[in-house]
Amino acid sequence: MPASVPVDGLLSVAWLVIALPLAGAALLLLGGRRTDRWGHLLATGTVVAAFVLAVASTLQLSGRPGHAASIDLFTFIRTGGLDVSAGLLIDPLSAVFMLLITGVGALIHVYSIGYMAHDSGRRRFFAYLNLFVAAMLLLVLGNSYVALYVGWEGVGLASYLLIAFWYTRPAAATAAKKAFLMNRIGDVGLALAIFLMFAQLGTTSYAGVFGEVGLLAGGTVTAIGLLLLLGACGKSGQFPLQAWLPDAMEGPTPVSALIHAATMVTAGVYLIARSAPVYDETPTARTVVLAVGAVTLLIGAIVGCAYDDIKKVLAYSTVSQIGYMFLAVGLGPVGYAAGIAHLLTHGFFKAGLFLGAGSVMHAMDDQVDMRRFGGLAKRLPVTFVTFGLGYLALIGFPFLSGYWTKDAIIEAALDRGGWSGWVLGGVAVLGAGLTAFYMTRLMLMTFFGKARWTPGVHPHESPPSMTAPMVVLAVGSVAAGFLLVQVFPLAEWLEPVFGEPAEAAHVVAPAVVGIVVTAVMTVGVLAAWLFVGRREVPTTAPVRVSPVVTAARRALYADTVNEALVMRPGIWLTRALVWLDNRGVDGVVNGAAAALGGSSSRLGRAQTGFVRSYALGMLGGAVLVAGALVAVTTA
């Protein structure tokens, strides 16, 4: 863990990385209308400055022994046996996230300048976006589970505010509430994990917990691992807490790109990777992580095939891709670096895809139904090319980003060996085929074929402030995988955190894996062309479809199950308790009161009479006291 080398230079002011966007948010919210004209520029400036500072700190970090710096800022809570300091831990893992958050965050701030130019709530939007960046940075830079938890709920708040940004729409308001609530269910798990660590180890700092977690009983570590996983599932939209993420698309599209694709929803992956020393001690919890990842990657991919809403397809794609990341980190030491690498490349291409989708919506008067798109390639050339590169990167087209990082996960899953290795590897390959299918379907319905536009729509390319970030992200979509796997291997950079990766004996040769995955991907692309590309796309969804399609369209009945098992019984219970409280508990009391002093309504009227009786009561009491005192003192 972090060396005790004193922190100097830029690292000693690393807290500014968090403080700058936070100050921006505070200034915009408190400054009111005075900041309307330039607030968005200030907000963007703070994130760009944070990015510069992040790059500089990371460079300085690589010169330090252990590549880590732990910085205690002030005492947050200290009483009894609890001592929580507000502190930062900058190590290779958090540095990677710091760069991702500030980098993609800065690009999306720039994009939003154009996207939100005509929105009356622009200042509020940029304030919330800054708040998000600050909270997310605290989440990854904190040096204890408590600091992480503070950031964890902070990003939940920012997510709530931004999903509900257009709050006059009931759907947006409801989606925001749903997201916050499902996240809070996960937060219970995270909170209980922290309580358990404190009870067993007396500390919540990473250094303290990781140093002694090996001394705990196996069952305790497994419990901690599973509780952390519950938190991770809530934040990352993993089964069984996945249903909030697609609804979160009610927020403005830059929000979907930054929060609900590139950064916040990957916090669960960060949590598990950060807690590697815990999961190293508990194969049971790791197996559950694997299962969650595998199940979710399939759910996301299957549902993604059936939706017609471009943002919801991308949202389910995100659910599915994070499933890959969970699968990777669930594999343990062989998978941590692969999971983080996929998280980074996914951050590039999925953010790019969402920005592209936003550009399409911008052109189509906020239409999201792909059945009303078609033939947009010529009208939106920059969007088409950048989106297309993101698409190729996502489906794992050879030598683009997704190819490198997804294949690494599939290889690692197969290398697990035994039947579980084959099952997990098989699921991952199948998922790759489904990914190719739904993304090709999306491409074909949006950019190719005949125009099926709503009358009166005149598509036009977006302004440069929007296309420039798309271009940057497209470059990342193409090159990031190669760079992170081949040129500057991420696995080596992360070695101080995860240890040296063991050279696994390959069950299937990597070249074979590459060929098989590419073949399956091709099948997916061809299938999409056969089903969608060759035919005319109807402008309304066909009604007579197979039960499989119906199930996929209804998101595999996730909401139905939640409603039947939780919501309806909850509403019933609430109503019953309200009735009980009014009629039962209070009724008994009122009845007793009526029996003692006449009907309650008479009591109500006879206010003065009541005061008299109270005075009498006081007098009676005083006599009682006096009598007792006299009796005692004379005894």
């Binding site: 947050f76 009483t79 009894g80 708040l157 006059t168 922290i194 001394l215 109500g604």
Partner: protein, 556 residues
Amino acid sequence: MTDVPWLLLMIAVPAVGAAVVAGLPAAREALARPLALAVSLLVLLLAVLATVAFDTGGDRFQLTTAVAWIPDFGVDFALGVDGIALSMLLLIGVLVPVVVGASWHETPPPRPGRGPRSMRAFWAWLLLLESLMVGVFAATDVFLFYVFFEAMLVPMYFLIGSFGGENRQYAAVKFFLYSLLGGLVMLASVIGLYVVSNSQLGEGTFAFDALRQLEIDPGVQKLLFLGFFVAFAIKAPLVPFHTWLPDAGTQAPIGASVLLVGVLDKVGTFGFLRYCLPLFPDAARDLAPWVLVLAVVGVLYAALVAIGQDDMKRLVSYTSIAHFGFIALGIFAFTTEAATGAVLYMVNHGIATGLLFVVVGMVIARSGSRRISDHGGLAARAPLLAGVFLLAGLASLALPGTNSFVSEFLVLIGSFPERPVHTVLATLGIVLAALYVLLMYQRVMHGPARGVLAEPDAEPDAGAAPEPADPPHGGGGATAVLAAPAPARTRRVPDLSRREVAVVSPLVALILLLGVYPQPLIDLVTPAVEATISDVGADPGGNTPQVGVTPIEEDD
């Protein structure tokens, strides 16, 4: 500075202020309001000075004053504070000026056949209440405590019964009946304590420090404990002693609701810490499992009932009952961390729920209705009001970054090592808290404009609105009836006025400050908490896990 009788001043200043306000001639009635504000600010200043004079590393009780009062029975007018009591005095000091500001335009309800009551009475009762609240926390003589405890009911009774909502008298009577019952049971225990002290020490006493030294027979302890406990469990209502609070909290004028839930109810949890634990440690330990069940049931039950409410003030009252469950859990877990959390909770809940009541009052002042279903889309009309409403709600659901997170976190993490099952169940309450806060916020603030707020503005001004005037203010009072007013009227929905900004600002600032940097407050209360935990026979050193203590390998 330590020999200034700070506590006596804090009791005397508002009491004198109350007398002056009450004695104002009718022609000078307008002076009552500014006088009340000045007096309450003076008390705040005194509370701050008293805190400066207080030495956190010093004796358990400081700033003491003692005058023999009824020497025949060993009753002293004895005052003194530990860190816990002092933090409550600071809370009073902050909340009363806020309440004065929030009640600035309070109007008395109409009385059929007679003219409306004079507002002089309102301000006088308010100041008298402040004086008595200070007394109840500052008393170190159990009999004196009892006198303040009972006397405190009178001003609150009149604030609710004379200045409350449409059902005020029923609510006031119910409040009184419950408190009376609790007070009488406690009185029996107070006398019991005197009897025991008389037989053990040779002369009866009510002095807390002397009573703490008594060795009371466990059976007697249980009886005396129960007498105090019932009074306190009614005051800081634990389910099932709670049904008076939703009525009182709903019918009271907003200012009184704030003080009722923010301070008055804390006398109950304060009483647990000051009297139930140190005086009857064996009984407290024996009965703790039962109290903890009540606490956890309260957390979940009251939150669920809150979710089902349509009346905003009633909803906030139920959330407070859930919060008192958390406080009781923290107190009866008998660990320093949890009890520190409970004390912080008492302060933070006063600030956060105080703010929530104040902003709910501001919403009601604009719409004329307490019903959630009469509202909708208010955020678009009054964004600043919506922002403060949301912050108060977030503090109520204990979001990190707000003060309440620190206290709820301490209560739960401190209780977990001792009482894991109770803590796990109580932790589920954080989901319910999110539900009741966000449901109310969404229905009132989000969505399209609805209910009375959907009516068109009387004067559709084009952006360049002047400083918004104060809205017509009914508080929780007479104009805020449960039925929506006739739809024929048109209504302006102004955002926060300057007065309203001034009222909410201190609370907003404290929520954020104590959320980010709570350690000074923790340092203030920890010594008193440790003393209390020692009194009850538990280890005040806090959680000491065994894993870290065992050496990993032997070197020899």
